[in-house]
């Protein structure tokens, strides 16, 4: 019964309450040590190198790097900000920044670095972090688009060639052009060696899945919605789950899982966002749809030969989402001058290139991107499918809105049921939409 979690929560609450009563510590002169927070272990290594280089340039300035795991990142950030113990600079994603910006928690980048600084950075990421004409973060990584990692050995064993999977298409009515389903069936096997398109296939004894359909916003359902010509949100941030095209896309995914059994059960994937990645790494999923953010994970941990092909195209083409991460400055930091200096450094080619050199992340500073491409070229990996899908092509917008995280918490339980096949897609999406929009409009 030691309730560690509750204790931590209480401590955080107390720290937060304490901060209301006391002020912050005064700034000291001379040498300054700032802290920087990220959720990515790989990126942290690169930032340590980057800050060491900055320290050489300006010996008065030291920046320490903290890593807070993704699962707790935004909970901890929020309580730390309230408690006055947040870092001077931290990583931020596009889905969460606007609530912080709205409440004056972030440094205005236009003011700190000038309005022309953004010309050096990936425009999609700049757009994502711009609200009401103001830029709130210095872009650090750009996710490219979504593509499909595939296991060459499993594809071969199923008697397929790369040409069979290179340009997959899908359609909501499972017509002749639904090659994704057909290929996925051939790549799904039970313990008797029967594939999902053979009679007698036992879905309860699946040992290998063809495809990674799951409740994954960025890698799976947003691209499916986009590729079917559906929408996810209106520009005001309210949700459109009941858009008929959106509903079709969800129905298609749910059918892949529950009707055709070519993807793992939602009982496995709903609560474990890394289930499909892990199964792909273990050679149990043949086609793994994901983004550049998993490229290092795949390259470092996979023992079979693998490749990347483009995102399956739906009736509206192959429409991906693209996303980015920025570094933001803490507006409450007592060292605003130094915070601006670090932001400037991280927005420069030199400062940003470190996170590209290990191949873990694509730098968002345009001049720094070449190191990333060089890294993967040297490793023999063709990353072009991640970029072809967004270059001069329509994309579906990444989630937006000051209340997106609240809304996402509200709609997730309903999507859980939809993906489990326990609620009809139509009814579940209606419930999800209602809950999500209530969080946006009423969620004060």
């Amino acid at each position: 019964m030691p309730r560690l979690r509750a204790l931590v929560a209480t401590a955080a609450l107390l720290a937060a309450a304490g901060a209301l009563l006391t002020g912050c510590s005064p700034a000291s002169s001379g040498a300054t040590t700032l802290t920087f927070r990220t959720w990515d272990e790989n990126a942290a290594k690169a930032y340590r190198q980057s800050f060491a280089a900055l320290h050489k340039k300006d010996p008065d300035l030291t920046v320490k790097v903290d890593v807070v795991p993704w699962a707790d990142y935004f909970t901890k950030l929020r309580t730390d900000l309230a408690g006055g113990s947040a870092d001077d600079l931290f990583w931020m994603n596009a889905q969460n920044y606007s609530e912080y910006a709205k409440n004056g928690a972030l440094v205005d980048v236009d003011k700190a670095l000038g309005t022309s600084a953004k010309k050096a950075w990936a425009p999609q990421v700049v757009d994502q972090f711009t609200q009401d004409g103001t830029l709130w973060g210095v872009p650090q990584t750009s996710d490219g688009g979504i593509a499909v990692y595939y296991n060459k050995e499993l594809v071969q064993q199923a008697g397929l060639t790369e040409a069979d999977i290179a340009k997959l298409t899908w359609s909501p009515d499972h017509g002749a052009d639904d090659t994704l389903l057909k290929v996925a069936q051939k790549l799904t096997k039970d313990s008797n060696g029967k594939t999902a398109d053979q009679p007698g296939f036992d879905a309860d004894k699946t040992v290998q899945w063809g495809y990674s359909a799951a409740q994954d916003l960025q890698a799976i359902y947003l691209p499916f919605i986009g590729s079917n010509g559906g929408t996810f949100q209106k520009s005001d941030g309210t949700f459109t789950f009941t858009d008929p095209k959106t509903e079709q896309a969800f129905q298609y995914l749910v059918d892949l899982i529950n009707e055709f059994h070519v993807a793992p059960s939602a009982a496995d994937t709903n609560s474990d966002g890394d289930f499909t990645l892990n199964q792909f790494q273990q050679g149990k999923i043949a086609l793994f749809q994901s983004g550049l953010y998993n490229l290092s994970n795949v390259a470092d941990n996979v023992k079979f030969s693998w490749g990347v092909v483009s995102l399956p195209a739906g009736p509206a083409g192959a429409v991906s989402v693209t996303n980015g991460v920025s570094v933001v400055g803490n507006a409450k930091s007592t060292h605003q001058k130094q915070v601006a200096e670090v932001l400037k450094w991280l927005g420069s080619e030199k400062g940003n290139a470190y996170i590209g050199s290990s191949g873990a992340n694509l730098p968002a500073v345009l001049d720094a991107q070449q190191v990333y491409f060089d890294h993967w070229k040297k490793a023999g990996v063709d990353v072009s499918p991640f970029f072809d899908v967004i270059d001069d092509k329509p994309t579906i917008p990444a989630p937006v809105g000051a209340h997106f995280s609240d809304a996402s918490t509200a709609f997730k339980p309903y999507l859980d049921e939809v993906f489990l096949g326990r609620t009809s897609v139509k009814k579940g999406l209606e419930q999800a939409q209602k809950a999500a929009n209530k969080a946006v409009t009423g969620g004060d």
């Binding site: 019964m1 509750a6 309450a17 900000l81 699946t206 793992p264 609560s271 609240d406 859980d416």
Partner: protein, 292 residues
């Protein structure tokens, strides 16, 4: 005069000796409770400035069917855990005080789960319960979604809780059993009572002080269950395991509505005070601490 000042000095010395624990009580109990009461009248999302909202939080929470549901789930959970856990612990205690070979070893083994960090245990159980590749399904040869089937999730959490706490509760019963003088049991046996009769007529009544303590603490801890739910189900599926403590955490640190969370915490506090008082009333008339 001197007597009075002497008494005042005595009182002062008394308070001085009390001071360390009194400080702890005030700083870590009274003040936080006061802060929570105050927060229950504010709107706070941890970023935007605090805004007093009067009774709005109380109105929202007390009329929220989800909160009623959470209380109900928690009560149901307590009903699943407390009787089984108590009976099992009593049985284990009786067996372990028989002086059978290996008893000392088993006492330690049963307490190990209680000593381990609940979150770590939760992760282990998550793996055991996993639908694909989970240990339980592998043993049973089934493909049951233990944690995502609404009818199974709460019993699964209850089972893990009982498993992890039963050894700890057993310790209290062992201590209680060792307090019962042998001559009473012998006298009963001489009078011709069988082992069952002895247990129900002599042992059980004399265990009442222990029983009271065990029931009060078990009910309180059942009402505060958090770690296991956090690690295994996060309140799902369909709210089937949305116990109050998890609902409070969720409201405060996922939905970032500290005011609502404060109200929920205070309601839980009130419920526990009432439940404990009721238990105390029940046992007060039935406990005899004097054993002849």
């Amino acid at each position: 005069m001197s007597r009075r000042s002497g008494r005042a000095g005595e009182a002062l010395a008394g308070y001085a000796m009390l001071a360390p624990s009194l400080f702890g009580l005030l700083a870590f109990l009274a003040v936080p409770i006061g802060v929570v009461v105050w927060l229950s009248f504010q709107n706070w999302d941890l970023i935007a400035p605090l805004r007093p909202v009067g009774l709005a939080n109380w109105r929202d929470v007390l009329t929220d069917p989800d909160f009623g549901h959470a209380l109900l789930v928690t009560a149901l959970f307590a009903l699943m855990v407390v009787p089984v856990q108590t009976a099992l612990a009593l049985l284990l205690a009786v067996l372990l005080t028989r002086g059978l070979p290996g008893s000392a070893l088993f006492r330690v083994i049963y307490v190990i789960p209680w000593v381990c960090a609940p979150l770590a245990l939760g992760l282990v159980w998550k793996w055991i319960f996993a639908p694909s590749y989970g240990a339980l399904n592998a043993v049973l040869g089934t493909h049951t979604a233990w944690l995502t089937e609404p009818a199974l999730a709460l019993p699964a959490i209850a089972a893990v809780t009982i498993w992890s706490q039963v050894g700890y509760v057993t310790l209290f019963f062992i201590a209680g059993l060792s307090q019962i003088p042998d001559h009473l049991l012998e006298a009963a046996r001489v009078d011709g009572a069988g082992p069952v009769r002895v247990f129900f007529s002599i042992t059980l009544p004399l265990l009442r002080p222990t029983m009271f303590f065990v029931l009060v603490t078990s009910v309180i801890s059942a009402f505060q269950v958090f770690d296991t739910v956090y690690a295994l189900t996060q309140g799902g599926p369909q709210g089937a395991t949305d116990v109050v403590a998890y609902a409070i955490y969720h409201e405060a640190f996922t939905a970032f509505d500290l005011g609502h969370a404060a109200v929920m915490a205070l309601v839980l506090f009130a419920v526990l005070v009432v439940v404990t008082l009721a238990q105390q009333l029940y046992f007060r008339r039935r406990i005899s601490y004097e054993i002849g």
